[in-house]
Symmetry: C2
Subunit: 282 residues, 2 copies
């Protein structure tokens, strides 16, 4: 197949490397608004050729849109306009409803399969891509009933080749759940990073005392603003609901600490320990 | 030396295992309010004998108090009452000022060295202890000018043997900084765990979609309530300051998301990316 990767960063790059390692014979063209990224992706063997959007899309059998989610809102309809009738388009965005909505009445809607891989790191750009990022991870396919059966088959085959587990879900449920188990984690980390960095301005060398617990909770604060600001804005209502609940939980901790209520604090923490069950399952 | 470990859990147990591996010839007596813990510690080779507090302390050359910090408030003065004149007592508590204050006018104050190892995991109990937990990690010694020089020397020698780096600090500064780089991380994780567990009651199978980012930010929610509730209460003023600032940062995110302010949201995240410098240094 001719595969066109639009956005040759962490996810787009890792998709290409993962598929290259497991299925030979495809040709990869890379498209990126940042020409340094395509040059780097070419050098790293992620893509075989650098292309531009208008010329590369009509030649592709499979288009992988792996850009920030704000760009997807205009790239996806443009892409469906340009593809050949048999080609298939997927996106890898962390939000789904608004992206799906942009093409709901597009004559080629059936050629599009809405995807979201539950995989990533706090790094970005082609140099952060690696072959095994998607292997053994979950790929969520949303609103599959609006995709043509052959398009869906091709996408499932491709993800299986990379070693991914496929899970089906409607776009609205996806956005609601992902706000809690991914987007909120990012906000909590970004805010934690800011809190401690601000404090460092007054109290020097505060980070001397930071251990693995801090590293773990603040790791996602290294994530790309270009990727994450659009995600938070695009999933706004779901995220505000999750964030408001999170702030309420924090205020409950605040009240129990200020009120020196050891018993209730212990009970609250014991309830949070329920996460052991969940992390064991993962 | 006769070494008495009071609290044979993660930290006390790992201290004993680390020292056993690096310096032979010591005899370890374990004391724990939970008799299952001492039995288990004996079985695992963490201690050589089970003892009780009143009998074991007078025979010890070095006492390691590794209990929750609320218990330390009465165990430390009792311990200084009971030790022989040449013995040394350390504690491994995550708060320092209030613990140090309990013995500030004790006639044997000089035999006490206030310590806090920057090491731990989200697990607890003797079975979670391991030999290398403290190796290459930082041991903070607080208010060392109130400890006798020979007591300080013994403690430094012992920590060096285990492979720890020693850092000196006054107790008040310790409590202020640790609120930001450790205690706040725990609250943020506990609250995140609760938020998502509560949501799961309504939306089933929400955790199917949780990836490594969620695991990383919520890991500390598995921490022991018996250990952590007393820490948060004992470091209350510092923690409330840190927590209030954290909630303000979250509210800033909330306002920018609700106001769809992409530019300011990106700027805020870019500032949080400053944490890259810090995590690189760690």
């Amino acid at each position: 197949m001719n595969i066109c990767i639009v956005g040759t960063g962490l996810l787009g790059g890792s998709f290409a490397l993962g598929l290259k390692a497991s299925e030979k014979g495809h040709f990869y063209t890379g498209v990126d608004a940042n020409s340094q990224h395509t040059r780097e992706a070419l050098r790293l063997g992620i893509i075989d050729k650098v292309g531009d959007f208008e010329q590369a899309i009509p030649d592709a059998d499979l288009v992988v849109l792996a850009t920030p989610v704000d760009a997807l809102l205009h790239l996806l309809p443009q892409c469906l306009d340009l593809i050949s009738d048999d080609a298939v388009v997927i996106d890898l965005g962390s939000t789904k409803s608004k992206i799906i909505k942009t093409v709901e009445s597009h004559p080629k809607r059936g050629r599009y399969v809405a995807c979201h891989p539950i995989a990533g790191t706090e790094h970005s750009g082609p140099e952060s891509a690696f072959e095994s990022l998607l292997k053994d991870q979950m790929m969520i396919i949303c609103d599959q009933e609006f995709s043509d059966p052959d398009a869906l088959e091709l996408v499932k085959h491709t993800f299986n080749k990379i070693g991914m587990k496929i899970h089906f879900m409607d776009g609205a449920t996806h956005d609601k759940h992902i706000a809690y188990v991914s987007h909120l984690s990012h906000i909590s980390s970004f805010a934690l990073g800011l809190t401690v960095l601000d404090k460092e301005q007054i109290e020097e060398s505060i980070f001397n005392m930071a251990g693995s617990g801090f590293s773990s909770t603040v790791r996602l604060a290294k994530s790309s603003p270009e990727m994450w600001a659009p995600i938070l804005l695009q999933n706004e209502p779901q995220i505000l609901e999750a964030l408001d609940q999170y702030i309420r939980e924090l205020e409950q901790f605040r009240a129990l600490i200020a009120g020196k209520d050891a018993v209730a604090l212990r009970e609250l923490m014991a309830r949070a320990n329920g996460i052991k069950r969940v992390l064991k399952e993962m």
